[in-house]
Amino acid sequence: MAEAPSPAATPGAAPVISVRGLVNRFGSQLVHDGLDLDVMEGEILGVVGGSGSGKSVLMRSIIGLQTPVAGHITVFGEEMTDPSRDLLAVSRRWGVLFQAGALFSGLTVAENVQVPLREHLALSETLMDEIAAYKIAMVGLPGEAGAKYPAQLSGGMRKRAALARALAMDPALLFLDEPTAGLDPPGAAAFDELIATLRDTMRLTIFLITHDLDTLMRICDRVAVIAEKRVLATGTVAELTRLDHPWIRDYFLGPRGRAAAGARLAHAGARGS
């Protein structure tokens, strides 16, 4: 069994999210069994794991959509498993990108982006439109997309629109469930860069579920591996590849992992020369 390396985040930083002893169960299927996880302020934590290992369920538990069987979850110091928690106040400070986008189908993309703004703030109509416009441009959507309905967008465009909505409130904490799945490679790279810029300039904390090895290697400060119903290990990609666990070795040192790492090295080499 692999040892979990100590968090590599900035020393002294408080965890924004802390999960202790999480147990989730659907009928007889145990999804999480005593899962522990900390996400530090200002870091991008990549979450990886096989399909069906419970990454999305973990995210849903943290944001309070799934009531766990046991365990404690705090977000910004608020106990999420406590039924009397102030969900509204916390939800102002986070943005969530669901795996399937979850855009409101009756609203245009621009209106979708404006939903949280209208709900939480009293801004002028002009400013609201401008915010929607620049967020839409930021996530790499063309200008015409703003007036379109989700059903009129392609799968990748829907992902971007959903990210624009997640970013609408300039949240301090961002949950992203497979943001780059279904994007073209240059688009995915631009996405990574955008996320890294936001983290660097606004000290954003990001909980990022991904299967994209490039994303993991380029922008994640730490990676948490979910397997065997818990967090098997956390650490930088380099630290994880040194661990001696068959699944982790397969994941990072399989053909795709090596290709991504090779590209990364070549990239760094080209920059260094």
Partner: protein, 371 residues
């Protein structure tokens, strides 16, 4: 959070006005910051960001907007992060259409009315085409090697028929009581209370038993069909079926139509019987007609033709309800809202069509001599 300073003394027009922003320039303060920058008089600004502790994209956007709209403006004292964020929003400052339609309201309303007329006409055409398709596919399926999907049919019969027995039975029972009660009160004035039984027997078997059942089934099952098929269309399940080589009409529509066509006469008959029982109960308790003579009298006064007319109408009602529900489900496009609209339409149209059909049958059977 922000303080403004008057021009640094000399007051020359070419010198930009200095605005010092301080504290957190974040979305929570966006409204105030926007007002503050708007209140600055025309002309270039020198925006000092040295005392800004936190900046997010909305704050950066407002600063960027001031720089863009006031030529000659500049920022001073911005940290590296702030400059990066400003560059990021400047790059994202691109034309974007926000509203789907910017034409005047009257023109849009006019267009909506026109579109509604065209949609109504084409829906009617499509509906007729759908009925034809369903009939064709049903026949084709019935004679094909695979045959009708009886498993699906029996599941639909359970959901639309067996599961409805409780509510349909209760409704019919109460309707029977109401007819008996009202009939007794009116007929008493002529001393013809005994004819209450004629009223109950003939009204329920020929008309009300079947019609009310059809309306109840339309409310229950037409809506269910439209919502089930509509949701499947939204999830592209219907498209997936086509790519696998399954005909959605054969898989989704035919079993539902067959099931309702077969089950309608059965629940219609059951409903009629319960209405008779309800009426009989009232006759027994209020009019003191014992059950044995009630049944005896029902057998005397209700001609067999009433029963057959009721049973003959029922399958048509079932088919119309099922086809309307499935047709509306197949019309769903795009959004969850559309599922709601189509479900409503399925119920309204199927009830309407059932009543139209019933009126047609009433005239038809009278014309051919079944009075």
């Amino acid at each position: 959070m922000a303080t403004q300073q008057a021009d640094a003394g000399d007051g020359t027009r070419s010198e930009p006005r200095r605005v010092v922003l301080a504290g957190a320039l974040t979305i929570d303060r966006a409204a105030g910051l926007e007002r503050l920058l708007a209140e600055e008089p025309e002309g270039a600004l020198e925006i000092d960001l040295a005392a800004v502790t936190r900046l997010d994209t909305v704050g950066a956007w407002l600063v960027h907007r001031a720089l863009r709209d006031r030529p000659g403006s500049r920022v001073t004292g911005a940290s590296a992060d702030a400059r990066r964020l400003l560059a990021e929003v400047a790059e994202a400052d691109q034309p974007c259409s926000i509203r789907p339609d910017t034409r005047p309201a009257w023109l849009r309303e006019l267009e909506k009315a026109g579109a509604a007329v065209i949609a109504a006409a084409s829906t009617m055409g499509a509906g007729l085409g759908f009925v034809g398709t369903v009939l064709l596919v049903t026949v084709r399926t019935a004679v094909s090697k695979r045959g009708i999907r009886w498993h699906a049919v029996s599941r639909q019969m359970e959901e639309t028929g067996i599961d409805a027995l409780g509510i349909v039975g209760l409704m019919s029972f109460l309707i029977g009581i109401v007819i008996a009660q009202q009939g007794a009160v009116q007929l008493e004035q002529f001393g013809a209370q005994i004819y209450t039984i004629n009223l109950i027997g003939r009204a329920t078997f020929r008309e009300l038993g079947i019609l009310l059942t059809a309306i109840m089934v339309a409310g229950r099952s037409a809506s269910a069909f439209a919502a089930q098929i509509g949701t499947m269309k939204l999830n592209e399940e219907v498209d997936a079926m086509r790519t696998i080589g399954l005909d959605p009409v054969e898989v989704l529509v035919v079993p539902r139509v067959v099931a309702l066509t077969v089950i309608m006469p059965l629940i219609g008959f059951y409903a009629s019987i319960l209405a008779i029982i309800g009426g009989g109960l009232l006759c027994w308790t209020v009019l003191d007609i014992p059950p044995a003579s009630y049944v005896q009298r029902i057998r005397e006064v209700v001609p067999m033709s009433d029963f057959w007319i009721g049973m003959a109408k029922a399958p048509f009602f079932g088919a119309v309800i099922a086809m309307t529900g499935c047709f509306q489900g197949m019309q769903v496009v795009g959004t969850a809202e559309s599922v709601g609209q189509r479900t409503t339409m399925a119920v309204v149209q199927s009830i309407f069509l059932v009543i139209v059909l019933d009126a047609f049958f009433a005239v038809f059977f009278t014309a051919i001599g079944f009075v």
